[in-house]
Symmetry: C2
Subunit: 230 residues, 2 copies
Amino acid sequence: MVEAPVKNPLLSTSREDYLADIYRIQAAGQNVNTGEVAQRLGVSAASTSAMFKRLAQEGLVHYESYSGVWLTKEGERAASRIVRRHRVIERFLTDILGIGWDRVDGFANLMEHALPDEVLEAIERLLGDPDTCPHGYPIPNRSGETAAPAGHSAEMLAAGERAVIRRVDESDPGLLRHLRERGLVPGTRIRVQELNPIDGTRTLSAGERTLVVGQRIVRALFVDRVVDDA
Amino acid sequence: MVEAPVKNPLLSTSREDYLADIYRIQAAGQNVNTGEVAQRLGVSAASTSAMFKRLAQEGLVHYESYSGVWLTKEGERAASRIVRRHRVIERFLTDILGIGWDRVDGFANLMEHALPDEVLEAIERLLGDPDTCPHGYPIPNRSGETAAPAGHSAEMLAAGERAVIRRVDESDPGLLRHLRERGLVPGTRIRVQELNPIDGTRTLSAGERTLVVGQRIVRALFVDRVVDDA
DNA sequence: CAGATGAGTTAGACACACCTAACTCACTGC
DNA sequence: GCAGTGAGTTAGGTGTGTCTAACTCATCTG
């Protein structure tokens, strides 16, 4: 049984998982080291070390022993294809199938390894060529180019300032449910009404509502400031 | 990296491929032997023999050395879940994404191993709970029950008889394209106008058209006779 | 009914990706 | 600047699924 080759550079499921994860860590501006990847993928450091070596041998990453890896041009192209599949699948699951945005990441992790290019593109057309996943992260285009992640941390909003949510931290399903229940989703306009300097809580107006949110939530929101209010 | 477990009885991709194939051979009323499965899955007889042993050990098939296998109740349940996923995916690809019915089998073979139950059921709802795949084969239900494949070979139609196509042989993409071009798809009403006793060709009316078809095509069609013509 | 033939099985190896345990490196703090 | 510590690597082993080559069984034919 041949390992499911979606197309082109015939990567194993494991390689795809590692590459996509390296890509995401890099996109967040962090160094990619063994422990981080091991922890995120739920494997041992030894396995990760071994895979780094393999990926380096294949020209997909640069590997500096005891320091970490970063993607080569080729690795970046490969990784972006996987991330692209992942985020398109997420959109499909939420927009077409109505599955909650807190579950789609896990499902997409399974499905992203077995989606032929032609099916991917048909789904994209059906969705109207979306620019982002449901959480606001950019979908790489066919050529592997990815827009910069939209928004800046909502922590830097001062009292009185208005903004639009562009993107939210997608790593914790519980947090995502929490955000959804409060209407804190990409596209929502918010205004910081009060900022409590002691504990960092904010009183926000979000759409029609007013809510008090703690640091954890504020840090999960990435926004663009809005100057003139329509 | 854990092998993608869609749910429940955590079967590897390979096991799923073997089980589904055994299921299909059995559903066609044939004995399931090593060579047949090996050839259909594109693996060696040795690999197939080894897998038969493993599946037997796990209680998924009965295995008679040098003779063949047949599914146990449990194996049948497992296999029907995979076939169900396969056929629902095919319907999704044709009906929602507009992909040609000659390509969807290959795509479904990849995708069927990585479709969580919840996503499967959402797709089924979206499709309106279809009974068959695009080629007319029955979709097993949630409980693993499968209707008998509809239709009987069109070969037994006598000159003058009318029938409705219920199902077509799905094994050859080229043949499927051929059938599609001639409108010979499930639901089409046909009538045998002439039957050439020398070479077995038939002159058919199919929908609006009249066509002459050879044995190969006739054998690929499974029909139900229609007595009264509306 | 005996031997040839072909299908099926067993033996032995390999690749992949994982693990734990032991070792090694690099940096931090005294 | 050297020891301790924690992160990273290497060593060695396991399970799965594949292969080829060699053997064995069952059946068909003369």
